[in-house]
């Protein structure tokens, strides 16, 4: 369950393979269908990673375009009707791309600004006026954004997107043990920051 609404049920693997095959055949309708299926979850991941709605939309768009570009290769690797096609999880593939793109953007922003972006609240006007107005939401956002990039990604994928640890680890291209260790550190950091907020209030 997420704060923004319903989670779209994961598409069957066979559908994913068929969708990729259609995209490989350069069918724009297939891309629209993939966007309709996955863009919501990808947008949530990207926004919670970056805290910026415009940046999140850019990231999702970039991920969808990469899916379009790589569709022929994916289709060749997972031909429809084979066991390889059953192994294809488009949601996992896209989540990995979005997570990596988000971490890239955060690192780039840190290099350009020369400041430690996640460690302080963003003073610039927020992209979404509703969130800007919501003081409670801003403090929660600060709580999540204060986490280091990868810990934040672990929390976003497992808590907000409710991915199993194995899938989240695959999305972050980590082995399960390392991911669980990362997740433990992320939870500890969150709890500590949350306790700190409570003390401050």
């Amino acid at each position: 369950m997420t704060a923004s609404g319903e989670i779209s049920p994961p598409a069957p693997a066979a559908d994913d393979a068929a969708l990729v095959a259609r995209m490989a055949a350069r069918d724009p309708a297939a891309l629209r269908e993939a966007i309709a299926r996955h863009a919501g979850a990808l947008g949530r991941i990207a926004f919670r990673m970056t805290g910026d709605a415009h940046e999140a939309e850019d990231i999702v768009q970039e991920a969808c375009l990469r899916l379009w570009d790589h569709a022929p290769r994916l289709a060749a690797r997972h031909p429809a009707g084979t066991s390889a096609a059953a192994a294809l999880r488009l949601s996992g593939w896209l989540a990995r791309v979005v997570t990596n793109l988000a971490i890239d953007r955060l690192r780039l922003a840190r290099r350009i600004s020369g400041e430690d972006v996640p460690d302080h609240a963003d003073d610039a006007p927020l992209a979404d006026a509703r969130i800007e107005a919501d003081q409670c939401g801003a403090s929660t956002r600060a709580l999540v954004l204060a986490l280091p990039d990868r810990q934040r990604a672990a929390i976003v994928l497992t808590y907000y997107e409710e991915l199993p640890n194995a899938e989240a680890a695959a999305a972050m291209e980590m082995n399960i043990k390392a991911f669980e260790s990362l997740l433990h550190r992320a939870r500890a950091g969150l709890r500590q920051a949350f306790a700190g907020q409570g003390d401050a209030q």
């Binding site: 919670r48 992209a127 972050m172 949350f194």
Partner: protein, 334 residues
């Protein structure tokens, strides 16, 4: 780890419980919807892309610390495995079998603190078995410096050498007496039969006869050798220490070898056998080879003496040399 840290660690292992204050706070992180027409915009952008465009996928994002830790862990595992293998090989004596020198901890420590290493462990049993040395200074090898080119100088060298030789003969005789007495004492303490005074006298006489026979043959050889050297000096040849001392095989050995042999000589046969077994294989081989050469030389030099005394055989092959009457060996090991 403090109590607070333990609590935090346990909390970190448990997932965020829905409905908890933290979960409620996290759920407040609302997400805006994607803009209207997002799918159309992306589809249009995709169709507008040139066919050759293939953006590379983002690479693996690993923090530097993680890679360092993995590398460090591999290095640590490698070092540990190597150490375990080396320790196992050293413990089983595998390294010494390949003639690789393995320094003992004493030698390593001595090299660190700059002091000479303590004697090898084979010397341990000597403390119990070693009789008092009657004249250690008299048994020291003769030092000859510079060339000898006159008969007088050569005579003086022979005199000093003879002094040392006689001192060694006396020390050897004393050792034989001590061993006979200690063996009799041992048998008496163990309740075994001891030789009667007549048997003991006969035994001592036999030993003395064997010694005289051996010393006589050796003296003949030395005398012949000295005459030869004297002739060379009289012909104007200058002799060096090597020319004079060469026939004395004992002095031709390295100081380390001499020390080891001397220690082994003073041991009882059992202890000697055990000490030889404990020696490093390389050193043991050298000693055995030296013994073997010595025996061959002796047999070549005195073929009429027949089989060499049992004490001339390598100690490893020796059985405790008791005579028929159960008394100690007829001659001291050399």
């Amino acid at each position: 780890m403090s109590v607070n840290e333990q609590d935090m660690d346990e909390q970190a292992r448990t997932p965020i419980v829905p409905g908890s204050p933290l979960a409620c706070a996290l759920d407040d992180f609302a997400v805006p919807e994607l803009s209207a027409g997002f799918a159309e915009k992306v589809a249009a952008a995709a169709q507008a892309r040139p066919p050759a465009t293939l953006a590379p996928l983002p690479k693996l994002r690993r923090s530097g610390g993680g890679r360092g830790w993995r590398l460090g862990r591999r290095i640590a595992i490698g070092v540990t495995c190597f150490g375990a293998l080396a320790t196992a090989a050293a413990a089983t004596g595998l390294i010494e079998r390949f003639d690789l020198p393995v320094p003992s901890p004493e030698k390593v420590w001595a090299s660190i603190i700059g002091k000479p290493a303590t004697p090898a462990p084979v010397a341990a049993p000597v403390a119990v078995q070693t009789p008092a040395d009657p004249a250690p200074a008299g048994l020291a090898p003769v030092r000859i410096e510079g060339p000898i080119d006159t008969p007088e100088e050569l005579g003086e060298a022979f005199r000093r050498i003879e002094e040392v030789r006689q001192g060694r003969i006396a020390a050897r005789r004393q050792r034989i007496d001590q061993r006979i007495e200690s063996e009799i004492e041992r048998r008496r303490a163990a309740g075994q039969r001891v030789p009667t005074p007549e048997e003991e006298a006969r035994l001592r006489q036999r030993i003395e006869e064997a010694r005289v026979r051996r010393e006589g043959a050796r003296s003949d050889r030395i005398e012949a050798r000295r005459e030869e050297l004297l002739e060379r000096v009289e012909q104007g040849e200058a002799l060096t220490r090597k020319d004079i001392m060469r026939p004395l095989r004992e002095d031709a050995r390295t100081p380390e070898q001499r020390e080891v042999i001397e220690r082994l000589r003073r041991m009882s046969p059992d202890n000697r056998r055990e000490a030889l077994r404990q020696l490093p294989p390389g050193q043991r081989r050298e000693l055995m080879e030296a013994w073997r050469q010595r025996r061959e030389e002796r047999m070549r030099a005195a073929p009429d003496e027949g089989k060499p005394p049992a004490t001339e055989r390598p100690a490893q092959d020796m059985t405790p040399p008791l005579s028929a009457s159960g008394t100690p060996p007829a001659a001291s090991p050399r």
